[in-house]
Amino acid sequence: MRTRKFFTTLHGRLLKWLVIPLIVLSFAHMYSIKNNTRITSTELFDRVLINLALSISQYSISSEGDLFTVDLLDLIRKTTKDKLYYKVLGPSGSFLVGYHNLPEPPDGIKKIDNHIEIYNATYLGEPVRIVAISTLSKHSRYSGWSKTFVGQTLKDREQFTNNVIWDNLTRIVLLITVISILTFISLNFALKPLKQLIFDIKNRDIHDLTPIVNLGLPEEIASLVRGINELFIRLSKQISLSRRFLENASHQLLTPIAALTLQCDLALRKQQSPESISSLNRIKANADRISRLANQLLHLSYAEASAFDYKKETPVNLAEIVKVCVADLTELSKVTEIECKLSNTMIKANNTLITEVINNLIENSIKYGGKDNHILIETFVENDEAILQVSDQGPGIPPELRQLVTERFFRGTNDESGSGLGLAIVKEVMLVHHGSIEIDSVENGKGTKIRCSFPAYSPS
């Protein structure tokens, strides 16, 4: 798995495309070297063997078949580590000296210069190369054609060939290793700007769509950067389009709802009959629900469409926003006891979205907090984090549902009035503010405690 991953990297790919063909080529190269060396070595050693045979022939004829002198034997041994065999046949085929059963040349072998035959044979269980030379001597005793055979085992030839091959092989392995290392190093150098680019993009704020500054990047990477920058421009356009769409949609959605609630209010003033009043009240309650839902959807879309730039947001005091939200609460909440423990907590945030977060949290706590509810809202700074915490005395959210409740349109089994958007909005808003949301129970699974952590703002 890991090696597979390596071969998808640029290093891996380049090595794959460079080293594998190099190895294949080297094999071919080695094969041809082996053949060439074998041919060359055969020619060379054959020549030596021919010369040796000529010397032996002359010596044996002139010495009339005498044994070789110590000097001559030494000389012969020094030329080769191989075993040498010879025999000399006199003019009429009479045996003169040497190993008498050295194999004769096979039939039909081609003669070089009409009097030299070279052939392979097996002697004493070993492969040998034999040279047979016919010489015309005009010696007093042996005048006429005599024939000299010299056989040599093949160790020297093999060693020669092997030496050449090993020598070449070492060079090739060394060459491939050096090429691989150089490729690695040069790639590292070449990829340095790309790594810097990746680092820059990774550390970018999700809403930062300003073009990437191109500072002396290699052309290949520069064109990638240009591509990304063009994408950024298109994205910005798209975002401003969807923002305008949202503004229009919010106006189009909320205006008829406003008319509906106002007409209900007016009609209620004129109505006397209890039935009409009750139906008008129900119409109004539903109109309020639609308006709340529309508002929530719009806020969710605002948060998602990154309708604001986190970097450009001014610092706000969480405690102040909570105070305003609590003061603005409608009659619905007046029956619930709300306690605030607020200490000044500065964060960089969008006021509208944070207000919506707080409203949703309070609304949830009121709605699901049960009968003798007591809501506690806290703001404080802890370990460089700004915390907004809302807890209630309700039945609490079971641990297995805590992940689910922040999904859009998730609602508890006996939750009729909820839209299922409240906590989804909270989560989304927290996300664009680089914060997080944590759901817990107040104690022993009872009560819900929702903790929103923001990066704390410090003026430096």
Partner: protein, 224 residues
């Protein structure tokens, strides 16, 4: 009292007009922004209700231009724009209050009352002149503990007079405040309203004095 309503949705506008007239406020309504300048050029309003998204222009532009002319009339923005930024922007360029649609009629009325109270010499809920007291919230008059309930137009006239606390007010000003562009503004009708009011104030120590060529003013009766 007279209000200018700039709102492009006729249903909302109708509700606002009905609500305002229940409060005894005369309304002029236009659905397009370009009527704004023409209206303020020819009439005086006590309050302006302004929508932001209008078919021809936007409320912010209108408001900015209006405040450049150093007019002091309170402006209440009603808008479907939900962002705090829009609200802050509206207030920064000179709106006196900002109400996000949809809103409850009660809240709208409360805010209008609060804005109108700013315009009077006294900011308390009740204004008194002699033995007449006027509750700005309920818009009721009373002489001692007896409630005085004049019809809307007469009430509007008495309202203007009591708010000015004895200052002289011209007939034209009264007419402008209680009639809208659609009414056949008959100035002589004012004389009838004054006449009827005088009858109703017969038992009080307050009378409505006529200042020839200038207008009317409330005065304390020296011989009760």
């Amino acid at each position: 009292m007279r209000a200018l309503v700039i709102e492009d949705n006729s249903d909302i506008a109708e509700c606002i007009i009905e609500s305002l007239s229940q409060m005894g406020i005369t309304c002029d309504w236009f659905s397009e922004g370009h009527y704004f300048e023409a209206s303020i050029a020819v009439a005086t309003f006590d309050i302006i209700i302004l929508d932001i998204n209008l078919p021809d222009t936007d409320g912010f532009t209108i408001l900015k231009k209006y405040r450049l002319s150093e007019s002091q009339t309170p402006v209440l923005i009603i808008s479907a724009r939900i962002s705090v930024e829009d609200r802050v922007h509206g207030l920064n360029i000179g709106a006196d209050d900002y109400l996000v649609k949809p809103f409850a009629l009660n809240e709208f009325e409360a805010r209008v009352r609060a804005l109108l109270r700013r315009d009077t010499k006294t900011k308390s809920e009740t204004i008194t002149f002699g033995d007449i007291s006027y509750n700005q919230t309920t818009r009721e008059f009373s002489i001692y503990d007896k409630v005085l309930a004049p019809p809307p137009r007469e009430r509007a006239v008495l309202e203007i007079l009591i708010k000015k606390q004895g200052d002289v007010i011209s007939k034209e000003h009264i007419a402008q405040t209680i009639f809208n562009f659609d009414d056949l503004a008959d100035i002589s009708a004012i004389e009838i309203y004054i006449h009827r009011l005088r009858k109703k104030l017969k038992d009080s120590m307050v009378t409505i004095a006529t200042h020839r060529g200038l207008g009317y003013a409330l005065e304390l009766n020296e011989n009760p």
